[in-house]
């Protein structure tokens, strides 16, 4: 989110919600219980929409947001699950492809890509921003 604050004047951002990584009915982690992030894997789009909105409310998440539908088209196209970063350039080409999460999910690498293009930017951290819109 800090990367968004720092580079939103240079690039557009879009968060894409994909199927849950650690739902209660699959591979739940202890940290999910500790953090009170306990959801079953949504069986329909309404379930995904509910969780996405919970996420945004809880973290006052300001980044524009879209939800992958139950066909998982975005996830499949970008091999995105469980988490992944990409940059699409102005001509519609992949300009940066991050590694597969969680082990190779590397926001620092994305920041370096943005810094190489736009220079180092570091704004003060913001709290409680306006929540995201689609």
């Amino acid at each position: 989110m800090q990367i968004y604050n720092d580079y939103r004047e240079h690039a557009d951002f879009l968060t894409v919600y994909v199927r849950e990584a650690h739902p209660t009915d699959e591979w739940q982690m202890k940290s999910n219980v500790k953090d009170d992030v306990c959801y079953a894997q949504p069986k329909n789009l309404a379930g995904r929409v509910t969780i996405a909105n919970d996420f945004i409310r809880r973290f006052h998440y300001p980044v524009p947001f879209g939800i992958d539908d139950m066909s998982n088209a975005a996830n499949d196209a970008y091999s995105a699950w469980p988490e992944r970063l990409y940059v699409i350039d102005e001509r519609g080409h992949i300009a940066y492809r991050g590694g597969m999460g969680p082990f190779n999910y590397n926001p620092k690498e994305l920041r370096a890509w943005l810094a190489a293009r736009y220079g180092e930017v570091k704004h003060e951290e913001k709290q409680n921003q306006a929540p995201a819109k689609s």
């Binding site: 951002f13 879009l14 968060t15 894409v16 994909v18 524009p64 975005a74 469980p82 970063l85 689609s134």
Partner: protein, 88 residues
């Protein structure tokens, strides 16, 4: 021949045990290793997209749950950073 199969099965079992032990260490516990094999690995794909490829398009649903938009609608004029993830 019977001895050959005994050794083959024994070595295969040992290799499986070693792999599961290493996975348990990486994942944090045997339960997590099982979770990784059962639920994570089938969904994790490196993918074939490369830098320079045309970015695929997909329709996303908006937070209101009814309207939607395409990823490529957001790519006019400036780079678009895509952040894929979920809550858990």
């Amino acid at each position: 021949m019977k001895r050959f199969w005994k050794w083959t099965i024994g070595i295969a079992a040992l290799l499986l045990l070693a792999a599961f032990t290493i996975l348990s260490f990486m994942a944090g516990s045997p339960k997590d290793a099982y979770g990784m094999v059962r639920y994570a690995l089938p969904h994790m794909h490196r993918g074939t997209l490369r830098v320079g490829d045309d970015a695929p398009d997909a329709r996303l649903v908006a937070l209101d749950g009814s309207s939607g938009f395409h990823i490529r609608e957001r790519t006019a004029g400036r780079p678009l950073v895509l952040v894929f993830g979920s809550f858990t």
